[in-house]
Symmetry: none
Subunit: 230 residues, 2 copies
């Protein structure tokens, strides 16, 4: 999952910094604009993945900004609205915002909204089928299926994620720690030998499946999904 960039637009720099803080704590990159004009400019130069947009702004107000950006792009926009504003006024006006939060807001909630909006709009991550195929092997991470020669093989999720990760970058050697970070996640804490065991089980399942590829050990370094030259 690539890091997402959030464009924060608000004339109150305390709010900007607060949002930035929470968002960056959550792994987002952030850029900040303090007025409507620079918001549009930064949208063009920074190419953010999502925009948090205040309505009350100098130079161009949030609505104008929203409209201007909508002409250029379908980037998700979350409006930051004053308490009094009504829904219809915000979303119903066909401005094309994707969500809104009312001030004063809870920063955590804003982050949650950002994630939610990204989840449902980013067509790339969750809506694209995560499938890798090599010869008689199909690894389908959308359905969590491992298919060998057309036959589904019952495979625990970690194993599947592991082989998917390896096969997604064929020939690249991954160290155990790299695999733990990238497949298990940063939070994982425990020995790295568990990778070996998962590899072993995968090999059991995939033995003699194909002579086009193999799960190869690179001693002292790690493992790779190797595609044999012909």
């Amino acid at each position: 999952m690539p890091i997402k960039k959030v464009l924060i637009v608000d004339d109150d720099s305390n709010i900007c910094e607060l949002l930035r803080l929470y968002l960056e704590k959550d792994g987002f990159k952030t850029v900040i604009a303090n007025d409507g004009e620079s918001a549009v400019n930064m949208f063009n130069t920074e190419e953010p993945d999502i925009i948090l947009l205040d309505i009350m702004l100098p130079k161009l107000d949030g609505w104008q900004v929203c409209r201007a950006i909508r002409k250029l792009s379908d980037v998700p926009i979350i409006m930051l609205t004053a308490k009094g504003e009504t829904f219809d006024k915000i979303l119903g006006l066909d401005l094309g915002a994707d969500d809104y939060v009312t001030k004063p807001f809870d920063s955590k909630e804003v982050v949650a909204r950002v994630k939610a909006v990204l989840r449902r709009t980013s067509g790339n991550d969750e809506n694209v089928e995560k499938i890798v195929k090599y010869d008689k092997l199909v690894i389908n991470l959308t359905n969590y299926e491992l298919i060998v020669d057309g036959v589904a093989i019952d495979t625990p999720p970690k194993e599947l994620e592991l082989i998917y990760h390896l096969a997604s970058n064929p020939n690249k050697v991954y160290s155990r720690n790299q695999l733990l970070d990238e497949v298990w996640g940063f939070e994982y804490y425990g020995g790295s030998r568990t990778v070996d065991v998962h590899i072993k089980r995968l090999r059991e399942k995939l033995e003699n499946v194909s002579d086009q590829w193999t799960i190869k050990t690179v001693c002292r370094v790690g493992y790779k999904f190797e595609i044999k030259q012909s």
Copy 2:
């Protein structure tokens, strides 16, 4: 993947040891400073890749240290803050910290943060293909492959790293000690003759591969990957 060095700054040596334990279990090198002054000194002498910095410190407090270091470098800094501190106070003051954790913290989480910060700050050299080519020889350190005339030759990692290192700077002479430092790593303790043996095995594998280059001994000095003029 080069080993990263973490500078831990805290006056409570229990905390330092705890962090050290977890970080080293995860493959990081660590150095420890117990007050602000030595923190700045150690930053200069040890050149860490990332700093864990407590705020309450003798001599110089964490903010002063942070500011001092920021004048010298963009090294990532994670602040260790007491529970009460407010966010804005920490990041809003433009101290330039990259992240923070509040005490009491979960050591695992700190390690996770360190990794996360390193990942987003370090100029992702992970995705760069490490490949060197000369004539019929391809040394691929991403896949850990040595390819001669299109055929992969099974090669142990040290040998591969050695030839990669030499071939990355053709014609440059490396002393054995230099090679031990740069390929084996500073931790290595042992005789330097082992370099000879590795060179020998590489020559076996690469004999007559090409008349464009050769692994040359420079008597009393070291070795070089020499490219012949035409």
